[in-house]
Amino acid sequence: MKFGVVVFPGSNCDHDAYHVVSKHVGQPVDFIWHKQTDLSGYDALIVPGGFSYGDYLRAGALARFSPVMKAIKDFAAAGKFVFGVCNGFQILCESGLLPGALMRNSGLHFVCQHINIRVENEKTPFTSELDAGEVLSIPIAHAEGNYVCDDLTLAELEDNNRIIFRYCDENGEPSNEANPNGSRSNIAGICNAEGNVLGMMPHPERACEELLGSNDGRDIFRSLTKAVERMEGK
């Protein structure tokens, strides 16, 4: 099993993702430079947070043209796992691997704080170690996390259980007050139709240790590890 953490110029959560995979999940992991196009040998890729290309033009808009992105599309098409966090989610939307877009937060400011998200679908490679309805405390840190999509897309996401996480209050209620950025339908994370590509705005890699205030993010990485094991078993 091997994980890869993609590094664009301006990625700044790459070391954090690497740390969690190597230290808390205990799996081999490499950094993957954005000019690399050979992804053979990897089973799961993390597209980390940060400000790829300085967020110039639009968050994630330039990264989609990076050489590694074409390879990532093929990688995803082959059924392997791609996990985008924060800027990674923005890049996956910009490159068309996930539907919708992430706009400026409704409050117009960058927001960094611990928030709650509810697990909406536990039957995915990223959530198998979690329970449906479980509430996780995980930090967000973004200025453009306001998920938008058209009605058709929303219906499709809902009908196919592709909304994986929703912002909620501590009791699991996806209320307006618990929505930190104005996201449509409190969406915090979605997956593609095949279920092997996940994008989410909250940072699970920042919630893997009690020392940092929460370890609720670990089960997402553990789920992914199990999914890779199952795939290897086939």
């Binding site: 110029p9 960058f110 927001v111 704080q113 240790e209 940092l212």
Partner: protein
């Protein structure tokens, strides 16, 4: 060489005095040309030469067993054990932040980050000390709001994108900072002891590389701007404010660290104030070498730039590197990988001359040592300012209901929650932040060890204005206490000394007294000064700021399991006070908020609290012993707003912790009710611990000769305080917390 006439007007616009110009003539034995005059003017500016402060700074203690790099380099470096060190520094960016708050504050962050990674250290934490005029009930309120918003957004913009967590600092409001905000930026990085880099141009024949962003015309004469007071025309200086690009800085960081690991770098220095000039002069001066630089080779983003402009440009995100001869190719390749320019622009030569060539002409030929060592040094006149000794008017308090007074204090600008500010900062990137902003000190763990580093930035200008020496001691004592409250042993400080014009004797008097106060306190706590910065000329329209030293204290926690937070944890825990409360209300938040004294009145009528550094040390030692034995459930510094505010803050909710109440019973015949609740006596810490540990805790306090008094217990939903059996405070914690939490948003007129 160019032959532009050097007239008295030209000399004056370069902020050089006639005597200074005479000195230049003597050094050169001829008239300088305009380019050379420009170089002298920035190197001899207050900002670069420390000409008014140098004679005093020498008194500060700068050595200690942990000090690896004392002041003089880009940042100080301190040993934290297991071959790891931290590099840190604080620096002001006051003038640019007033002229253009967003870019001014942003580039302040950028500059301090470069200072840290120039040493080979990866920045892992940033903090800011911010001072503004009031946001309400002031004729400058709207202006102050926009400065605050701009500065906060600028800091967020730069730090968040760069990927360093901004984990603390302070935000202070006082009318003294109307039209003269203070923005002091701090950064701390981690470096292995054997991988520290220096800004030295060593090795004759070694190539000099220019790396990073291209040079433009921005920021020309920034250093001289920062060395003059402001007037109504200040905004016309906007073109001298630099524009920052945190993305480029992030690339520069990664490329520099990679190039350092390659072993091809002999010396490296960031181009900060006075850009290419100061970086090349300082590198050569430290190594005792000469330099030849060809400006024609410098990457430029504007056409037709003159040598003068290129030398004085303060374009951001640039570095000067001296490579080991023959290895420059490796450095160029690493920078190209990160899509950055890296060009050989000169070489290290024997002798002491800095020779600047442009388009085949020798544009400047100057002796390096004279630019630095022989920069003017002034023993400026100092004289104690006359205090207008106003009689204390007997003021009627705004309210005599202590519940009401407590609530007003909690909502007052300097005590209320600064969540609106720090929520805009990425406080967690790099996954090391063990204590989030809003505590006594911020804490980052060091992944490579079991340890953690605590840090805080503190100023207390009102105390300093009343008595500069005692004020400075109080300031250092509080910053040490703040890191002690999270379980850290204070190990070293950096300081940023913000003052008005040094040409005024009363300013120089307080500056000199502050140095003596810092010296005495740092010696008592064994916390040497390893880096720092002086910012003079903080005045607008003839009105100076309060003398405002800001102390950046760094402490060490041996084991991350022993980190202490300030919130009360469990019902039934005992609350106790380490230290003694005295009648110290005359310069306090109570006097300002409830008795409605203006800052000038406070300073003219008030007295600073006494500080006994011996006692302070005992209290801190007791707290650290308790932390080390894992006996503390919480510890909180008792300062602004006094005991009642400290207890209320410990009751408030925090991550994973609901709000709680407390029942306090005070016995005292000596002090007034107001003093007991709100006096700002130093050397006090509010702690809580398990009831069963009482005996052990009091024994440890006794062993340390630390005054110790059990004052109550944790529990319920209300904060109740009794004095000699009579109830003086009884308020719902939730209500107090709301007043505290939402106040800043209310003052700003924004949604919660």
């Amino acid at each position: 060489m160019n032959n532009f006439a050097i007239t008295p007007e030209v000399i004056a616009t370069h902020n050089l005095t006639f005597e200074e110009y005479e000195k230049i003539l003597k050094i050169l034995g001829r008239e300088p040309n305009l380019t050379e005059l420009g170089v002298f003017s920035v190197m001899w500016s207050e900002h670069c030469s420390y000409k008014s402060s140098r004679v005093h700074l020498g008194r500060l203690p700068t050595t200690g067993k942990r000090v690896i790099v004392p002041p003089g380099e880009n940042a100080g470096v301190v040993d934290i054990g297991d071959d790891w060190c931290v590099a840190f520094k604080v620096e002001s960016h006051n003038h640019p932040s007033f002229i253009e708050p967003f870019q001014g504050a942003a580039t302040g962050v950028g500059g301090i980050l470069r200072d840290v990674f120039t040493m080979g250290a990866r920045p892992i934490a940033a903090m800011n000390s911010l001072r503004f005029g009031h946001l309400t009930e002031d004729k400058h309120a709207n202006r102050n709001k926009s400065i605050l918003k701009g500065c906060v957004e600028g800091i967020a913009h730069y730090g968040n994108c760069f990927g360093v967590p901004t984990i603390g600092g302070e935000v202070v409001f006082d009318e003294a900072y109307n039209l003269n905000p203070l923005v002091n930026a701090f950064a701390l990085g981690i470096v292995r002891k054997d991988q520290i880099f220096f800004g030295k141009a060593s090795g004759i024949g070694n190539p000099v590389l220019y790396v990073g962003a291209k040079t433009g015309r921005d920021g020309i004469h920034g250093a001289t701007m920062a060395s003059a007071e402001f007037d109504e025309e200040a905004l016309e200086k906007r073109p001298t404010v630099q524009v920052g690009d945190p993305f480029l800085e992030k690339l520069l960081l990664e490329a520099c660290l990679e190039a350092m690991r390659s072993g091809a770098i002999a010396g490296i220095q960031d181009m900060g104030a006075a850009g290419l000039t100061s970086s090349s002069v300082e590198m050569a001066a430290r190594a005792g070498t000469g330099l030849e630089i060809n400006l024609t080779l410098v990457p430029q983003r504007e056409t037709g730039m003159t040598a003068y402009e290129m030398l004085l440009s303060e374009s951001q995100e640039r570095m000067l590197i001296v490579a080991h001869r023959g290895r420059e190719r490796e450095i160029v390749e690493i920078f190209n990988k990160w899509d950055l320019d890296a060009v050989v622009v000169g070489k290290v030569v024997e002798g002491n001359r800095l020779k600047i060539f442009h388009n085949g002409n020798l544009e400047a030929d100057l002796p390096v040592d004279k630019l630095t060592d022989e920069a003017p040094r002034y023993e400026r006149r100092k004289a104690k300012g006359e205090r207008r000794k106003l009689k204390t008017k007997n003021r009627k308090p705004k309210t005599e209901d202590q519940n009401e007074a407590l609530k007003m204090l909690l909502a007052s600008p300097n005590i209320c929650s600064k969540r609106w500010v720090y929520r805009q900062y990425d406080t967690m990137v790099r996954t090391n932040t063990a204590i989030l902003p809003g505590a006594d000190a911020a804490v980052v763990r060091i992944k490579e060890t079991r340890r953690a580093v605590a840090m805080c930035l503190d100023g207390n200008a009102r105390f300093v204005a009343v008595n500069p020496k005692i004020g400075a001691k109080l300031n250092v004592a509080e910053s040490a206490r703040n890191v002690v409250c999270v379980g850290a042993k204070p190990i070293a400080i950096t300081n940023c000394l913000n003052f008005a014009s040094p040409e005024r004797p009363e300013v120089m008097y307080s500056f000199s007294e502050v140095i003596d106060g810092i010296k005495e306190a740092c010696e008592a706590f064994q916390t040497p000064v390893v880096s720092g910065n002086v910012s003079f000329y903080n005045e607008t329209d003839g009105r100076g700021i309060l003398p405002t030293p800001v102390i950046g204290m760094v402490g060490l926690i041996e084991d991350t399991h022993k980190i202490i937070t300030h919130g009360f944890k469990s019902e039934g825990d005992i609350i106790a006070l380490l230290g003694i409360t005295n009648d110290d209300l005359s310069v306090s938040e109570y006097a300002q908020t409830i008795l409605e004294f203006s800052t000038d009145e406070l300073i003219e009528t008030g007295e600073v609290p006494e500080i006994n550094l011996d006692l302070e040390k005992k209290i801190q030692d007791a707290c650290l012993n308790l932390a080390d034995e894992c006996l503390l459930k919480s510890a909180h510094d008792c300062s602004d707003g006094g005991l009642a505010v400290a207890i209320a803050e410990s009751c408030f909710s925090s991550l994973n912790r609901k709000a709680t109440g407390a029942e306090i019973e005070l016995k005292n015949e000596r002090l007034s009710t107001e003093s007991l609740l709100f006096s700002e006596s130093p050397s006090r810490i509010v702690i809580s611990f398990k009831a069963e540990d009482l005996e052990r805790v009091s024994a440890i306090a006794l062993e340390n000769n630390c005054p110790f008094e059990v004052i109550g217990k944790v529990g319920g939903e209300d904060l109740k305080i009794k004095l000699n059996e009579a109830e003086i405070v009884s308020a719902s914690t939730a209500e107090l917390e709301n007043a505290w939490k939402n106040s800043l948003e209310n003052q700003l007129g924004v949604e919660n």
